[in-house]
Structure formats: C-alpha cells, structure tokens
Amino acid sequence: MTSPLRIGILGLVMIGFFSILGIRLWTMQVTEAQAYETRAEDNQVRVVLTPAPRGDIWDSKGVKLAGTRSALAAIIDLALIEADERGPLSQNLAAFLDEPASEIEELLSATNLGSQITVATDITDAQATFLLEHREMFPGVNVIPQPVRTYPAGEVGAHVIGYIGKPNEQDLEERDDINGEDFLGKAGVERAYDELLQGVPGVVEYKVDARRKVLSLENEVSPSAGGSLILTIDSEVQAQLQTSLQNGLMQARRLEMEERRLAIEEQSRDQRVAQALRDARAEALEQALEEKEALDAAVEAGEPTTTTTPDDGERRIGPVEVDEADVLSSLYSGLPIDADGICVPVQRVTIPHGGSATVTGIEPRLAKFESVATVDGELVAHVVVEGKSYKVGDHDPFAGTLRVLEISEDRLILNHSDPWCPIRAVGVVLDPNDGAVIAMSSYPTFDPTAFVDGLSVDQWNSLGTVSAFTNFAVQGQYAPASTFKTVPYVLALEENYYPINRGVGDKEIGEEQTGGSTQDDAPVVSTTTLLDGPQTPVNPEDQDEDALLPLRSDTDEYSCTGEFRFRLNDGSFQTKRDWIWPGAHGPLDLHGALQASCDLYFWDVALRLWNERGDDSGIDKENLLQEYARGFGFGSTTGIDLPFEREGLIPDRAWFISEQRDGSPRVRQDGSWVGGDLMDMAVGQGAVLATPLQMANGLAAMVNGGTVWQPYVVEEVVDQDGNVITENQPTILNQMDLDPRTTTLLLADLQQVVNNQERGTARSAFRDFGEGVELIGGKTGTGEIIKAPRSERFRQVDSAFFIGVAPVTDPEYVISVVIERGGSGGRIAAPVARQVFQFLMNGPEGVTPIAPGLDAD
C-alpha cells in the first residue's frame, strides 16, 4: 500500500469526522433550532427568591409576642456579576451604605451563601430607588421586599421566644431548606419550631438582556408565611415574673451593699489589713501544722521521708504577706459598683495607652496604663493601681478584682468583677395539671429585636458577659438545696421510713432536747418491721446506735438539734451542722422538719438508708433516694420544646466511680462514694444539680398525685387561616404511684412553710401577702456556692431558692425561683415568688412591693 493511498485513507477518516460534525450541526441548527431557541429564552430569565415572613408568636391570651413587618432589602444576584467586578461594586456599595469596603467584599466573596446575597436590610424607599436607577454602579444589585422580625412585647418572654440570626456553617450543613441569606431561629421556640415558622419563599422571575439590564417581570409567586405559634405562656404573668425577678435581684444587690457598708464601717482600712494579715498567718500556720502531722504520721508508720527534722511550725512558715488591694476588694470596698452605688457582677474598664481610668468601687481606685512591652512574644502591660505597680499579661488577674481581657498598643481592656454580687434571677411558673409553662424567665434578659439587625458590641459587652441570652430556667444547673428535701420527705411517707432519733441517749448532742414531748413519743421497745423486712444491724461496730430504733411514723418527734455527730466507717466521728446552728429547732416530726427545714432529720433519713444498704430487705436502699429523685424527673432532661436543655445530676456510686476514673474535679480523687455524699444529697447539696424547670416540674408531680408531665411552651401551631397544623398534647413522662395521703400531707406542710408563724421559713416573706395566703404553699432553700477560693475566709456566697404551689386545695400553679448569689431562700427568693403568687391569685392590684424576708434556709 503506497503512502499517497494511505494519506487518502487518512483524508477519508477526516472527512468522516467532519461529516459527523456537519450532520449534528444541521440537526441542531436547522431541524431542531426552534426547541433550542426556547431553551435559550428561558436562559435569559433570572430567578430571585423572596423570603417568606416567619410565622407569628402569640401568647395563650392572644397577645402578639413576635410578628413581621415589611421592609426593603438590597440583594446581589452573584450570577450576574463576574469575580473582578466585585472590587468596584463593593467600593460603590461601601460608599452608598457608609460601611467599610472590606466588610462588603468579604460578604461578596463568601461562597457558601448561594447566589443571592443580602447586602443591606431595611433600606429606605429613596435608597432603593437610587440603587435601581444607577445599575451601572451597582451591577447585579436588586431590591426585594423583605420581612423584618418584630417583637412587640420587647423583653417579655424573651428567653422562651429566643432570637433569630443568620445560619452558621453547621446550620447550613444540617438544614437543606435554608440558604445563607435566610434567618433562622437560634434560641427558644424560634429555634425549636424553626422549620414550622419558616414558610415558603416566593419567586420573582425577570428577563435580562445582553447588557444585563432587566427587561421585564416574567412571573411572581408571593411567599407564603410560616405557621404561627400559640404559646402556653401568659404574657401578663410572664411580665410580672420578669418584673419580680428583676426587683428581687436588685433588692438582693441592695442588701448586699448594705452589708458591705456595715462591714466597712466596722473596720478601718488599717484594721482590715491587719486582720487579713492575722488570718493569712493563721492559715499558713494551720497548713504548716497539718504538714507536720502528716510527716509525723509518716515517720511513725516507718515510711522513709526526705524531709529534715520537723521543727516548730511557727518558725517554719516565715513572714506572711498580703496584697492590700486583694484585702480591700475582698472586703467589698474595691468591688465594681454602678452609678447608683449598687454592685454589678462584672464591669469592663478600658484604659488608653498612657492614660488612666477609674476602677469603680465604694473606694474607687485610679488605674494608669503606663506602658506596654513585648516579653517572650507576649504583650505585657505596666499598670499602676493606686500607686502600686503591676506587670500583667493576657488573662492575668491582679489588684484583687481585675483581670486582663485584651492588651494592645493603644489600650488595655480589663474585667473588673465581683464574685459576690447577686448575678441572676431565674423563675418558672407551671401548670401542675398538664405541664404547660405559664411563665419562664431569667434576668438579666434581652430584647430579641437586638438580634434582627445584629448585636452591637456594646450590647454584647453589657449582656453577653452575664449570659443574658441564655435561658437559665432550662440551661442553668443548681444545687437545689433545701427545696430538694421534698424528695426524702415523700420517700419517708411512701416507704414508711423514718430516721433513728439519735438525740435520745446521745449525750453529745442531746442537751437541747429538754422539755420537749419527744420523751413521750420516743419508741422504747419496738418490733416494727420496716419495708416488709426485719431490720438487721449492718454495722456491728455501731453498738450504741443499734440500740436505738427508728421513729415509727411521720408524727413521731425527732430531736432536731443544731449539730449532728455521726460515726464514719473507720469508727471516727464527724460533725455536720444545721443551717440554724448555733441555734436548734427543737423536737419536730417529719412535718415540722420540712416546715422548719431541719437538715438533721433528712440527713438521718439518708444515713439510715446508707447504714441499711445491702440488707436483706430486697430494696436497694443505697439508691432509693436517687430512685425517687429520678422518678420525679430530676437528673434527666424533661424534653421541653426548648433547645439546649440541661440534664441536671442525681449522683450515685456509679456516677462517682466514673467521674473519679475520668479524673473529674467534681469528685474527690481519693476515697469512694460514702454515706456523707448521700446525706448531702438528701438536703439538695453535694453533687446534686437541678434546673429551675426540674425543680418546678418535680414539685408539680408531687402535688398533683404523682404524674410527671413533660413541660411544654407551645400549645399549637396554626397556619395563616387559623387552621391547626400541630397541637401539643400533654405528655406523661412518668407516673409515680403516690399514696394520696402523701400529696395531702405535703401540701399541708408546704402551706405551713408559708403560713406557720413560728417556724415556717417563708412566713416573713409572705407576711404582706394579703388575701388568700392560706392557699399558698412553698419550700425555701439556700444553696452554698463558693466562688472565689479565698471567699471562705470572709464570707460564704449563697444562692436563694424557693419552690411554691397554689392553691394548695387544688393546685393550679407551681413556681420555682432561683436568685444566684442572692442570699437565703427565705430572705430573697420567697418574696419574689410571693409577688408572682399575689399576681396569680389576686391580680395586679394585689401585688405589694418586695421586702426581704427573714434569713431562713
């Protein structure tokens, strides 16, 4: 075969190639041209999505809490602009909107937002017209109607409603139905019901020409609004709760300030420093002695030691120094105050480089930002506070109350904080008959409107630092303190399980037990079997205690002294003190113990459970208290239709072991779960944690006969025409088989807490209640929280609790109130609840001003 022939064949192959192209082009451009033309025309239509208005949110009485108003927004269709067009466009937009160009550029380069980007919301008609008339300056920019969220009730119900915001990366990943330009619920029901609230976006189709000018509107489908929520919240009760919480917190702060001023008057500045020196010295000495003891013990045990001969502790501690600023702040004079002289939990101090600023306080201090240097790559600021010099880096604490937040060449930002100032008030009102939430709030709160336009730095500084956006009613976890005594109370009645009255015959603690009726009722000989089984001594060492038998009934009296000594496993004695110590409650039965909040009674219930653990009763007594607590909904989420709910904690041996294994700081690293832990739990202290919602919901179950309802805030969701889309049916989480007598007795005792003028811990708080106080029941609680490591030396910080129910004849409302760092429950939490009950029972006219009650647990 010759070369020309093969070239010819190659040529034929090429002709074949080109023929294929020709035939295809002929069919496309001649035969089917019409069909392609139609498709080309469709191509010139751009589609813009118009956001749907979110559904409204209404309270149970028809008051609108969230709605939408119509506004205009400028959007950019990214499909209509090229990458290198973005520079000039963002310049123009920046000038037009008076915003930094870099921000707009960033917005335009965000690739995850889809093709439509909102550059400005809520623009005026004039601005909209200008944008549309100057397309050459603003290519791709369009104006569309945009619904803007409104919250007519402002702060009322903010934590239940929540707030909205732009989706983050995670939201976009999780949700297919939203794009980067949509708003979605970030908290509260706005988040929990977001998909129902969203609605369906509308569509605008318009035709553009070859010069990217809009020729005509092709098609327009209006967006359809999302479903509206009807809440169980009563906005009037909600408003009252919020006002009361705010008043209560402010009252707590004023009380705090009075105490501080008294303390300052009592001691001069020099006296305070001298006292602090003495304290520090005593502390150091104590520590030295402890060390010496440990050393002696080690030597005695024959363990090899590396330490030299132990000498006198006094000599070993050497000179002790105290930081004067630390002392002053600890004694309150240097802690932050507001313009009215009232304490604030945290304040921000900004000092310009070379300048100075006043650090507020009863005795204000002057802080100068002298200079800044770089040490090992970190910025270190030289600050002089009241003549004393400090070199501080990022996050360093200094001068008692201050901590560095940010150092730069220009300025120094400090946190000026107060670990004692009452920081937060939380409250929940529930319907115990179905779990509907009537009101729920935590203060400080916020206006959700702030999130619609984006939160300003100032707003974030003032509210974010105190977690104002967090719903502490479901997210706050607190040791519920004495309000938790209702659990061992119910246990005692249900199981017919009462403590051993160790006041009898125990000379150590028996002294106050004189003149009481205890002697008459005390069991002398008893063959009562408990819990269907014979009681056998568990610990043969406890000879003297074994001689005593438990009380037989809830009306048997117990000697409630101020101090409690009990034997540990190793035979040694430990002392626990009641809140009333150095006083004493005197003889009380179960009912009196709850009314007066006697710690000893419930400690002894727990101790007996502990001592009888593993007996042959067939009952797991070590975990019986936990079983009851969990039965009432403690230790797990209630499943309320609000996001981020916390579980709380009901501790037990298994939990203790697992925490210990993980090296958690919440438990001791040496030793095991002991009776003392169970005793702590019985009075709501130790590791036990509960949310304010759990506190209210647990009480609701106890007073309604044992039904644990799942709390809920949304009654139903309706569409635009009022048709019900979904309805929340009350759900039972658990049914406790309570003896009706238990509920009746509990309600009577709770009523006595409020009404018993001799021992009711909330009696003084409800003194001014007015009509119907006899229908109110409640339980106070005071939780010890220790925030600052050295606070013990000066003062313990307490949180105040109150749980209540009304009317006790046929409960319609239960309430829980927490004032974080507020003091005692009787003094500050009960008065807040009193106002809310006054409102609920007697209407707005019945509400009297908050006055602190007597200090009572």
């Binding site: 075969m1 070369s3 020309p4 093969r6 070239i7 064949i9 190659l10 040529g11 192959v13 090429m14 002709i15 190639f17 080109f18 294929i20 192209l21 020709g22 295809r24 082009l25 002929w26 496309m28 451009q29 001649v30 089917e32 041209a33 069909a35 392609y36 033309e37 498709r39 080309a40 025309e41 191509n43 010139q44 090229e82 290198d84 067009e85 000039p88 050459e136 290519p139 553009v208 020409d209 070859a210 010069r211 990217r212």
Partner: protein
C-alpha cells in the same frame, strides 16, 4: 536559506490560516466585549491580548516556513528531550495550577503550556523514527513508536490533561498508519487502545472528576448546573443560532456569558450562535481546506521524514477540530482541547502556527534537489 523558498508559498494555506485566525479574533471580541463593557473595562482587552499572540504566531509561521526540515531533523532528539523535561518542570513547584490541573509554566510575564510544544516534539520524534525504518514497519519499530508517545503521555497524565493524551494516541495511530504499519499491527494497536482505555477507567487510574467530565455529556440533564453546564449552555447557544444565526453581538447566550470559558475552549459556540449553520459550515469548510492542503503537502513532500511530519501535523489538527467542535455540540466529552487558530490562548496559537509553519516549509521545498535517504 533557500533563495527560492519565499517565491513558492502555498497561498491557499496561508489565506485559510489568516482567515481562520481573524475570524477567531472577531469571535473572541464578540464573546468578551459585552462582559468587559458591563464591568466598565476596556471591551477590547481580550481582543488586544489575543491579537498580539496572533501577530507573534504569524511571525513564527513565517520564520518556521523558511527552516529546512532536514536541518531540524538533526535536533529532533534534543527537542524531544527538552520538551519532555518541560513536562517534568510543569509538575514541580514552577508549574501553575488552574482549577485542579497543573498545566502551566509561569515565566514572569509569560505563561505557557509545555504540552502544546510536546505535541510537535512527539510528531518530529515519531517521524524521525519511522523515516529510518523500512516498510512495512517491524513490530520493534511500532513498539519504539509507542514508547516515544508513552513517555510524554505518562507525564501529561500526571498533570492531568486527558485531551492531550487522546491527541497523542490518535497522532500515533495516524503516523504509524501512513508510515507503513501492517493491517495486523493496526488491528493490534486499535484493540490495545480500547483495552487500555477501558483498563484505565476500571482501575480508577484517572480521577473521578475526569470520569465525570468525560461522561457528563452522555446525560447532561442530570448535572445541568454542575459538570456539563458548559456543554448544555453551549449546545443551547449553537442550536438556537438556527440557519443564519442571531447576528454579531446578538447572541444572548454568548453575550450574556451563560457559556463559561467561551473565548477559549468554547469559541465555536460564539460562531454557532451568532452566525448559525452557515457560519459553522464556513468554519468547518475553512478547516477542511486547511487539512486538504496539508494532506496534499504530505503527498508532495520531498522525503519520508517531511511526509510523516506533515501527516502528523494534519492528524493533530484534525483531531483537535473534531474533539473541540464535537464537545461544543455535545457529541464528544469535555477535554479542554482548543480549536486551532480560533481559541484564545497564546501558547496554543504560537505552537499551532509553528506546526503549520513546519508543513509549509515542506511545501516550499517540495521540489528541492537534495534527497534525504
């Protein structure tokens, strides 16, 4: 320099070449001007850039036309090795990445694609190899020919640039065929190519995006907005052009830039939409004339080496044209092969001009007395 060389140019070839180039410039302008103008930029910016390369290309064509291929043959080895080394360089840090593929070398103000140069080097090397062997080709020669193509192919595979690999395969087959391969060898190679292609797919040696890109054209509806977006838009543009087209600057598809990279890979779209079937036919006709001239030159070549080079160049052009236009009308996969002398791109235009220049120099010396044995 041959004193008679310039006196005997192939005017048809030159006119066709210039006509295609100028039509290419017009199409590039029509495709880019509205977009540039809408942005307030110089609407002739892309046109000017390409015009510069066209000018350079013309000069290169003229210079290469005067070069005696017999002289070039002595440097085939170094040219082949050099171009292969450039392919290695592009894979190193010197190479520039565009999208997911690394095809460019950045030399300050100039960027170029070594694979374009490699195409010419491979043709020269193949021709040189076959010119030395007898007819019919021995299996040994065929094997060496495969090796010549395999080395740069492997490097290009790493870039990766599947289009250029396909060009190599086709050029290899064509040159071996006209060089005197037996029918048995042809059959073997054809089967081997098919088996190899299937193997590459099966063994997943090529990355999934390449498979996606190659197969998207079969069912573009399923990825209308993703992979085959270009192809679907291009097909709509060409189809809607109809018999006579929408007219210059009246193409809604082209001018609204619904077709991305239309000034380079999808330049034929601008022709099809604005000038319709008639315009498309004219472009294909011009290319047909060009290829007819090249095949005629091959037949008239003074020696076997020149003959094989021209045949190789013609095959390369033919394959580029077929794959590229086929891609715009969705009968071929998207491979990124440019349309010779029309697609925007400096290296491509200059390299293609040089290749055409080589063929032209063969024409100029068709009756030269010196024989190459």
């Amino acid at each position: 320099m041959d004193p008679h060389g310039l006196a005997r140019p192939d005017l048809v070839l030159i006119i066709t070449y210039v006509a295609i180039s100028l039509l290419g410039l017009l199409m590039i302008y029509s495709a880019t001007a509205p977009g540039l103008e809408a942005r307030g930029l110089d609407p002739t910016r892309e046109l000017k850039a390409q015009a510069f390369f066209v000018l350079v290309g013309f000069i290169v064509f003229a210079i290469v036309s005067t070069v005696d291929l017999t002289e070039v043959r002595r440097f085939v080895g170094p040219i082949y090795i050099g171009s292969t080394l450039l392919l290695v360089v592009v894979l190193t840090s010197l190479g520039d990445s565009e999208g997911v593929a690394q095809r460019w070398i950045d030399l300050g103000p100039i960027q170029f694609q070594p694979s374009e140069i490699s195409k010419i080097a491979v043709i020269l090397m193949l021709a040189s190899l076959l010119a030395r062997s007898g007819i019919p080709l021995s299996w040994r020669t065929v094997a060496r020919g495969i090796l010549v193509v395999a080395i740069p192919s492997a490097l290009i595979f790493l870039q990766p640039d599947l289009g250029t690999m396909l060009v190599f395969a086709f050029v290899l087959l064509a040159v071996l065929f006209v060089g005197g391969m037996t029918m048995r060898q042809l059959g073997f190679l054809t089967v081997a190519t098919i088996v190899g292609t299937v193997g590459v797919f099966q063994l997943k040696l090529i990355k999934s995006y390449q498979i996606d890109r190659l197969t998207a054209f079969i069912d573009p509806g399923s990825h209308e907005l993703t992979l085959s977006y270009n192809q679907v838009q291009s097909e709509i543009a060409i189809g809607s052009g109809g018999l006579v087209g929408k007219g210059l600057f009246e193409g809604s598809q082209t001018n609204l830039q619904f077709v991305p990279v239309q000034s380079s890979d999808f330049i034929f779209t601008a022709v099809g939409e604005q000038f319709g079937f008639i315009g498309s036919a004219i472009v294909i006709g011009l290319f047909s004339i060009l290829l007819f001239r090249l095949l005629s030159i091959a037949v008239a070549a003074k020696d076997r080496f020149s003959f094989l080079v021209v045949a190789g160049v013609a095959s390369m052009f033919a394959f580029h044209i077929f794959i590229n236009i086929g891609m715009t009308i969705r009968i071929m996969p998207v491979t990124g092969l440019p349309l010779p002398f029309m697609s925007a791109g400096g290296t491509v235009f200059v390299a293609m001009s040089a290749a055409l220049g080589l063929a032209h120099s063969v024409w100029i010396r068709r009756r030269s007395p010196v024989a190459d044995q």
